[in-house]
Subunit: 186 residues, 2 copies
DNA sequence: CTAAAGCAAGTAACTAGTTAGTTGTCTTTT
DNA sequence: AAAAGACAACTAACTAGTTACTTGCTTTAG
């Protein structure tokens, strides 16, 4: 090992994350990433391959960190929604990256994400069987609605953002409360 | 062959809608739009200006048609969510265009959308004053959550889409029911 | 000395936007 | 009614700049 390639990789990854979050895959410029990372463009290709592959590396990195950070408890979905909300507030780029990913890589399936989803669905099913969670909805149905509510405040169109948003605490409270109502036993 | 600028404009708009929905602004190619519309590229610039302006025209056109089609009734938000769901199912490009718009035009504010939002917020407030709608949430809060629920099934990551979705009717039912629970008087 | 890290300088292909000119249609003049 | 003029619709070819990706060489650490 001659120089510190790990540090260079990390700088590239950071710069790429900011670039991709801002402009998406098609809109991002590899030159800009190289400049921001203070690294040579050829290194990007050497370490990460094509632009698409660089995006995948960035996305997997960020999303796994995200998934790791928010603990999933099927018997407390309101709490899970609240913690998800907190992370969306703390790392706004995550949701942007995810959205670009959905739009620009509709066929991509990251194994780690698939596994994480499967684990959550299984936990929901288990909680339902134990009678600790409503069975009015299937696991997929529950996960879908809980997620939508957790990110509801971050899906605003520019136009709605003109109206003054409630305080962060209030937004969080609403997310938690609406999930509580969702899973409340009728 | 008679010349008909209206028809040409319409063909360009249609082709541009498909292109932008698929690739976003940065990823779209004006040449591809011209080919698909069987129109010359220069006409696009003549009729619509720059690529960004073409996107705005496409977006305004589609979104206004969408907004016009779904009737808003503040005293029946579950019904409104259900009808929104129906339209997302019928015109899948609408949500894609909206998402590209949020990501790529964060500063854009289409007056028609602002007006439509204001009208909805006012109607919610009125329904609340009349006691025909819960006052547990502010108008903006209600609109935010109802919208998130209405589009919950269309926000899936590619990975979650691997799990088989319930039937359309069932998804709709869930959307309506979850909004009902949201607005239910505690 | 050597192997890997790093870089300047390319290149081929692409892309938004322009230009200068042609074709079809409607209006005016005789 | 027919020729002439006016004007809008339309087009092929182009420009100037950009972009992803590569090559061949230099530098550095062990």
């Amino acid at each position: 090992m001659a120089r510190d390639s790990e540090a260079t990789r990390a700088r590239i990854l950071d710069a790429a994350e900011a670039e991709f979050a801002a402009y998406g895959i098609a809109g991002s410029r590899v030159d800009r990433i190289a400049d921001a990372a203070q690294a040579n463009k050829a290194l990007i290709y050497k370490y990460f391959g094509t632009k698409d592959e660089l995006f995948d590396a960035v996305f997997a990195h960020r999303v796994l960190a995200f998934v790791d950070e928010v603990e999933f408890d099927a018997t407390d979905l309101p709490g899970y929604a609240g913690r998800s909300f907190d992370l969306y507030e703390r790392f706004p780029t995550t949701l942007r990256l995810t959205t670009w990913y959905q739009l620009e890589r509709p066929d991509g399936k990251l194994p780690a994400i698939v596994a994480s989803n499967d684990a959550k669905l299984a936990k929901i099913e288990e909680a339902q069987r134990a009678g600790r969670l409503t069975s009015a909805y299937s696991p997929l149905e529950l996960l879908t609605e809980v997620r939508a509510l957790a990110m509801s405040w971050h899906l605003h169109t520019p136009e709605l953002a003109l109206v003054r948003r409630p305080s962060r605490a209030r937004c969080r409270e609403i997310v938690v409360e609406s999930v509580r109502r969702l899973v409340a036993q009728a």
